[in-house]
Amino acid sequence: MTLRGQACIAGIFEHPTRLAKDKSLAQLHAESARGALLDAGLTKADVDGYFCAGDAPGLGPLSMADYMGLKLRHMDATDVGGSSYILHVAHAAAAIAAGKCNIALITLAGKPRSDKIVPGQGAAMLSAASPDVAFEAPFGPAIVNMYAMCAMRHMHEFGTTSEQLAWVKVAASHHAQHNPNAMLRDVVTVQEVVESPMIADPLHRLDCCVISDGGGAIIVTRPEIARSLSRPIVSLRGAGEAVKHTMGGQIDLTYSAAAWSGAAAFTEAGVTPADMQYASIYDSFTITVVMQLEDLGFCAKGSGGAFVADGNLISSVGRLPFNTDGGGLCSNHPANRGGLTKVIEAVRQLRGEAHPAVQVPSCALAVAHGTGGSLGTRHASATAILERV
């Protein structure tokens, strides 16, 4: 069986908040769910499948089904960090194809900004029972210095420069100026990025994504139900997931699991990176985007720096418009997990509902790709090819 054409994304909602001191975590999940149901033209009673990850409070689907009053016949709480929600789209499609549910709800929410949570210091990542912890925690791994080691090695092997990495942020800022909800709406220059304070060599402050509160939700359903609703039809054409790790001490920081998840997704979809008119790429850091574009096959390994330079990711300027909402680098990064918002902006592009200043004309094929965990140690990748039908 293939997932191609088995399910559609019928509803999306991105919570507008970026600082939610007045809201609870469960409330943010539920408000996002309500928004996506309204967008789809469905009600809570229609939901029979629910997907969430480690950001959901309590026992995940149990606590949230209780809070929202859901009656479920299928649930999935696979947690692979920020990539979880892209993977959930594919898992929802598989469940729908298998007849396990008809209307799948996926939610994400988090309040790291108002709770002043330091990324990478979450309880789950530092559980003493995790077999890696004793051999890593003493040395001070944060999220940023792990990605910085990837960038340092990329520069060493391929000659990638800080200025090239900066172009990723520059492109995101060009898009964010049109997003009234974005945290950072000022357009920045390459010079401003490379002159911002060094956080962990070679990554500067403006190479890093924002810390924000927020959330989002997605409704996945079977094609015949999607066609009965009033929204434009966005179909899942292919999907892939993979995990890469330290390989027993043979770690290679120059590539990510996107090399595998991307290949699987493009094969299932029967299309190539060159067919993509838009790309949502998880942008925890500028280097994350460069590595993933290479691994997905948009350019050769090692040439990502040159590929992103000179505005090539800016809508209506470059060859590959990316993250036209401003992405994690400028708009938001709810729960320190960027996967769900990547799907949302891809769906907006395919519906023709992105901001007019960044909308790709007649956008019919797009990719949403995310990574979860740390590229510097162990991470998951999830890739979804989406199509306007």
């Binding site: 912890v133 890593e136 940023v144 792990m146 060094m198 962990a200 027993g248 920081l253």
Partner: protein, 135 residues
């Protein structure tokens, strides 16, 4: 020179020998008698071939820097790194006792054990004499 708090490793039944050796100033890794490959962090089953026929070997304590980053965000700066050991296995560590701005990929390093906060000492690395930056 590491003013940063060194989180204490918690040895368990699988890793206790590693930390006992560390306390004696010796770096060890696991190697597999079936596939011949070393691995790190140490496991009861070889992560390469899944054989239980694994054993500890003593390391020379020498290697080279595979990648690194100097953390400058808060507190005293420190250098995190992956060091590729002479035994063809890499580990996460810190590069210490040197000018942090002089660290480069490929530099030769040697192990030195540093106290953790209430746990066994942990393996860190300093630049080998032959790779110390000129001047």
């Amino acid at each position: 020179m590491t003013d940063r708090r060194i989180a204490p490793p918690q040895p368990n039944a699988e890793t206790e020998h590693y930390w006992t050796e560390a306390a004696a100033g010796r770096l060890v890794v696991k190697t597999c008698h079936d596939c011949g490959q070393a691995h790190h962090y140490p496991r009861a089953l070889c992560p390469h071939c899944f054989s239980p026929n694994v054993d500890w070997i003593a390391c020379t304590g020498r290697g080279e820097i595979y990648s690194f980053s100097v953390m400058r965000r808060a507190g005293p700066p420190y250098a995190i790194a992956y060091v590729r050991l002479a035994e063809h296995v890499s580990l996460m560590t810190n590069i210490i006792d040197c000018d942090l701005d002089g660290i480069r990929i490929g530099q030769a390093v040697e192990v030195v054990f540093k106290a953790s906060d209430g746990g066994p000492p942990v393996p860190m690395f300093r630049l080998s004499a032959r790779s110390a930056p000129a001047g």
